[in-house]
Structure formats: structure tokens, C-alpha cells
Symmetry: C2
Subunit: 373 residues, 2 copies
């Protein structure tokens, strides 16, 4: 019998989602560099890469090491570098990884420059640009700071380009918003690249991306590549901002009914936050999906049925407040599929993906994933 | 160099916390049955068990299998049973586990009864009691339902006792509240046990517990054992409800500074929600600790310094809104320790514990933990 809770993956949906993004980026004649932080799976990465160039984005050095061991050399480590990681970076490059790092301040640039000088080694670096004020990076109009970073890198470091991530696009509420974030992202990265070119630097890489902006961008002129991660799986946050439909969400958590409590108007399931994650990414959306949308095992949503709260191994399922829908006639032991708020967070709670066969309603295979740093 | 982010454990604090709980339960002459779901580590469990009886509570069958492989036989699986798990339950018992299960409804009781009848095997069962309305269980005053469950178990199943968990105690805001939840928990469990005795059943086990109620209970007459989990590590939720001091929190996430952005009033670190978890358990507290309290590596909190927001591998550190404290003079590469909102959730993001040596400020050993179901 199927053991619950477990993370299931519908590979048909994954393939369709991969094709949609490939078509979107091909239209702009830019490289698609999938972010493997969502799946942390070589099998998923192979679907996303298809027969295109094997170029990826990683969020941890553990990912860099793992994907290099599977032959994927062209990598960007897209988290600002810290000095304690440089030994592993150099080791990865010695093992054949074309690994590029990012940074956004003079202090980090000097640390990298001095490490390279000490080793007599070079390191390709991208400067992180803040195109929408959401997190890290140099603003494109901070020309003095940009140049100061480039100067601090010195002659041992190879300044390859600029990189930005429109994380603010997750707050979009309309197609117009999504297009605006895509414009900000493209314009910010290209402006920063041009400032550096004006200062005499050769800038070969202009890297932008997030799933929403990658799918809704209208202009990528001057951009060389797009990074995106969650598009392979999609999730309720992406559905909530209009990037996908819930029927396109490729992963879910399969759970069993523990108890039906009509007097409390609730159903208990054996998937709590350990299986679903604590992510409440739709809490700020017009439609709050609780800890996830409750579906039949084959992925048909029950009207207004959500995981309303979550303990470690218990989910409390009930109707969306104000709903007139009835509680569905579920019984102890029945299976449900929970669509996740945030695919990256839900997948991170699991050691791999059980491959769901929609035709038979059974699990046909398993793809492992990695974890840790 | 220390690789960040990483989960660190201060074993001195763990030992002190374990001793505090042991003293509290010894005073009431009841068995302490630690919940291993917090640590999922045999090394931590050994500290919690000391030289007392090796009795534990588990939240997954994976835990049951793992701890049995380390010789711990006396276990309660404290999540309502579903039929798909019975094969593994019987296998565990065949391998020598004295594993008890719980349920709270007639449907589950009938499923267990029929599985036992089909195998000609018995299974010790506890009925889950809802002492504070927070999740599952039969209310102690639902005498008809209680008896119906006992009857449905039939003659093949061994009704061992009752179990309750005052999860509502996490919402306590004062010592008086904590004592009230402890009273509800004890009174509810004992009342239910007595109803079943009145109906002719022999009830040997009356199991209660949560860390807050276990530490603040005044009366455990009629109770045979106490379950608690988070007390080994403690966390900001426990500190927020007055159960511990932040100086007693035994785990933390060690992170490196990626960038200092005085213009934005923020510091970026390389611990995001992947390392910290998405748990925002203090969000509903009078003192909201964001995604965690920022400390020096040896655990001294910086005044009002919190992880204000978290992306997958980035934490945004800044001052509590309204604080007059200055941003501390941190630099790229500096280490900080983040105290977690919820120890169970933060530990779950990691493959093990790096053992922090306070005297030298170095890591001296590693204790692995398990994951999955």
C-alpha cells in the first residue's frame, strides 16, 4: 500500500511546464539556465535541460558538487559569496566546473581578489544588481559603487557580467505587474552592464530571471540568459499571481485521512508541516490557500477545501471561511493530494519524488533529491 | 573553515534542559517518555533518556524503525493510525518493538480490529483524548463515543489506555495559563480513563504531555506518564510563553554575513528559510522574533536584531521595528548564530547537528538525524 505522507510528481505536467518555458525563452533567443534549487534532482534537471546546453543555476555548493558529479559544468552559484566558501569554489573549478560566483559589495570583492591573488588563480564573477529593491545587489544607478566593485576585483578576477533576480515579481497581482517587473529586471541589468562597459570592462553575461518575469517578458534585448526555477513544478503562489493554472502544478503531497470530525467541521490528515512545509506564501494573496489546496489523489480540487492549519504530522482540513460548499464524504484511510503553496519549500521536506502514474493511480518509480549545503 | 549555514547544538545546554525536565517529572513520580520528533537523533535521545527507562514517543514509523534499530523498544506512535500503516506496525512488533498506536474514532478502531482479527495478532491501542479542543481526539465528556470506540476495538485489540496532548498550551501567555492547560490535560485524561474503567475496561496507561504543561503541572495524580519533546532544545516560542529563557536554547543556525547595507538598514546572511525553516511561531506572540533572533556565534543576542525576512538561501537581518538600537558593526564573512522560533521545524531542515564547543568557538563532532516517513 502507498505509504503516506509522500511527495508525488506528475512527470507529464513537468514536461509540459518545461516545454512552455523553453518556448518562451527560445522566442527571445536567450539561454535558459534552470535554477536547480527547486528540485535538487538530476532527473528533474535533465527534463528541464532537454537537449539544450547543460547550464544551470545553483543555490548551494552542495548542489554545485552534485550536479558537477553528473557532468553539468556550466554553473552560476547565485548567492552572494562569503570567504569561507572559496576553498570549495576553487576545488570545484579544479574538478572541471565552470562555476561562476556573484557578489554585490566592495568588501566581498576584495576578499575574492585577495584569495585569487594568494592562489594565483582566477575566478569568474558576476556583480549582483538590485533591479527592484527586494533583497541584495547594487542598484543600476549606483554607478560609483558598481565601478568601485569592479576596481576592487583587481586583475586576478575575471569580471564576466551582471546578474539580477526580480524577486519582487512574486508580489505581482496582474499581467501588467508581471510585465513591469520583467521590464525592471531587463532594464536594470542592461543599464548596469552598460555602465561597466562605459568604465572599460568587457561584459559578456547579462543574466536575469524569475519564473514570472521569464514567462511574461516582452523584451530581452541586451540580455544573454534567463534563470528560472519553480516553473518545472509550479505552485499555488504562481497560480495566485496568474502565472499558471492549478491544473499545471506538477507536485503534490499524498496524504491519508486520519479522522473525520463533522461536529468540528474538519478532517484530519497525516500530512502536517513536516510534509507540506511551513510556507504560507498565499497568505498575502487575494485568495489565501492555507497550507495547501486539497484534491482527489489524481489532482482534482475539492471546492474550497484547504489545509487550514498544520502541526508537525497532522493537517487540519476544512472549508475556506465563508464557503457554502459541503465537506466531501471522505473516510478514514482515504487518500488526498495537497497542492503546495511553494514548490521549493514543500519539495525540500522530502528525500525524493514518487512518480505518480495518473492512468493507474499508482506510484511508478522514484527520483531522489539532495539536501544540505 | 566552518561551512555555513549549519545547525549547531550546545550539548551543555541540552544536558541542563534534560535534567530540568527529569527533575520536574520525577517530582510527580511518573514516567518521562521523551518525544523524539524534535531531534530525530539517537545521540540526543540518549541524553534525554539518561539512565532512566528507554521509553519514547515517535511521530513517524521511520522514527519507530530507527530507534528500534538502536534498541529502544517501548514506543508510542502518537499520530492517529491509518490502515495503510498497519503492515509496518505489525512488522515492527514482530521485530521486538513494544509499539503502541493511537486512534480517536470508530472507523479507525474497526479498521484496526479487522486487521488484528485477519492476522490473529493483537495490538496495544490508546484512545486519543481531546483535552483542550486544539486538534484530534475524543472529548472526555463524550462518554458514548469513548465507549463506542472501545467496543469497536473488539476482543483482538488490547485497549491499553488513553493519551492526550495539550497542544493548546502553546497559546498560553502566563504561568497561570500554563497551569490551567496542565490541569485540563490531566483532568481530561483521567476523566476519560475513569469513564472507560466504569464501562469495564482495564486502563493501565494514562499518558499526557507537552513541554509547557510538563514543566508547569501541579498535579499528575492518576497519570502514569508524561510526553514532551521540545524541552531538550527549547526555542523562541517556548521563551515567548515563559517556559524558558533564550539563554537556555540549545540549538541555533550558524550563518555568515554576505553583505552589509547601511543605506537599507539591513545585513544579508547566508541562512534563509532552507536553513531556518518557514516557521513563524512567534508571529502571534507579544514579542515577534521574525525568523529568529540574531546572536554572536557564542549565543549572546544583539539588541533587537532579527531575521526580518527569508528567501531560500538569504536571510535579511535588521532591527525590530521601532528599535532605537544601532546595527552592530558586522562585516562580510562574520559569523552569527540565529536562535530558532521552533526547534522541531528548524532542526528538520538539517541532516544533523554540529556540536558547538563554547570554550574554543569551534565545532567538535557531529550527530546525525533522520528524516522522512
Amino acid at each position: 500500500m502507498i505509504q503516506t505522507p509522500t511527495l508525488i510528481l506528475d512527470t507529464e505536467k513537468l514536461r509540459a511546464n518545461a516545454a512552455r518555458m523553453q518556448t518562451a525563452t527560445d522566442r527571445h533567443r536567450v539561454l535558459l539556465r534552470p535554477h536547480v534549487k527547486t528540485s535538487k534532482s538530476i532527473d528533474v534537471a535533465r527534463v528541464l535541460l532537454g537537449d539544450g546546453p547543460a547550464a544551470i543555476t545553483v543555490s548551494t555548493l552542495r548542489e554545485a558538487e552534485f550536479f558537477l558529479s553528473h557532468g553539468i559544468r556550466d554553473q552560476i552559484y547565485a548567492v552572494g559569496i562569503t570567504p569561507n566558501k572559496l576553498d570549495r569554489i576553487f576545488a570545484l573549478r579544479d574538478q572541471g566546473a565552470d562555476l561562476k560566483i556573484i557578489l554585490d559589495n566592495v568588501e566581498a570583492a576584495k576578499a575574492v581578489a585577495s584569495a585569487c591573488a594568494a592562489r594565483g588563480a582566477s575566478l569568474p564573477v558576476l556583480i549582483e544588481i538590485d533591479s527592484d529593491g527586494h533583497r541584495g545587489g547594487v542598484r543600476p544607478d549606483q554607478v560609483v559603487e558598481l565601478t568601485a566593485i569592479a576596481v576592487s576585483l583587481g586583475r586576478h578576477v575575471e569580471l564576466k557580467g551582471v546578474l539580477t533576480h526580480a524577486g519582487g515579481s512574486y508580489a505581482a497581482r496582474s499581467e501588467a505587474d508581471l510585465r513591469r517587473y520583467a521590464r525592471l529586471e531587463r532594464d536594470g541589468a542592461v543599464a548596469a552592464a552598460n555602465h561597466l562597459r562605459d568604465a572599460g570592462y568587457r561584459i559578456d553575461m547579462v543574466s536575469v530571471g524569475s519564473t514570472p518575469t521569464a514567462l511574461f517578458t516582452e523584451d530581452l534585448s541586451g540580455v544573454t540568459e534567463v534563470r528560472a526555477g519553480v516553473y518545472g513544478f509550479f505552485d499555488l503562489v504562481m497560480a495566485g499571481i496568474g502565472v499558471c493554472d492549478t491544473s499545471e502544478i506538477a507536485i503534490g503531497v499524498l496524504a491519508s485521512v486520519i479522522a473525520v470530525q463533522p461536529d468540528k467541521g474538519q478532517i484530519l490528515i497525516d500530512a502536517g508541516w513536516m510534509a507540506l512545509s511551513r510556507d504560507r506564501g498565499t497568505a498575502s494573496h487575494p485568495v489565501d490557500q492555507g497550507y495547501g489546496l486539497v484534491c482527489t489523489p489524481d489532482g482534482q480540487p475539492y471546492p474550497d477545501l484547504l489545509v487550514l492549519s498544520a502541526n508537525q504530522e497532522h493537517g487540519v482540513v476544512g472549508l475556506r471561511p465563508g464557503s457554502g460548499a459541503p465537506l466531501p464524504p471522505l473516510h478514514v484511510g482515504d487518500l488526498v493530494r495537497i497542492l503546495p503553496n511553494h514548490a521549493c519549500a514543500t519539495a525540500a521536506q522530502h528525500a525524493g519524488y514518487d512518480l505518480w502514474d495518473a492512468a493507474s493511480g499508482t506510484i511508478q518509480g522514484h527520483w531522489p533529491r539532495i539536501q544540505g549545503w
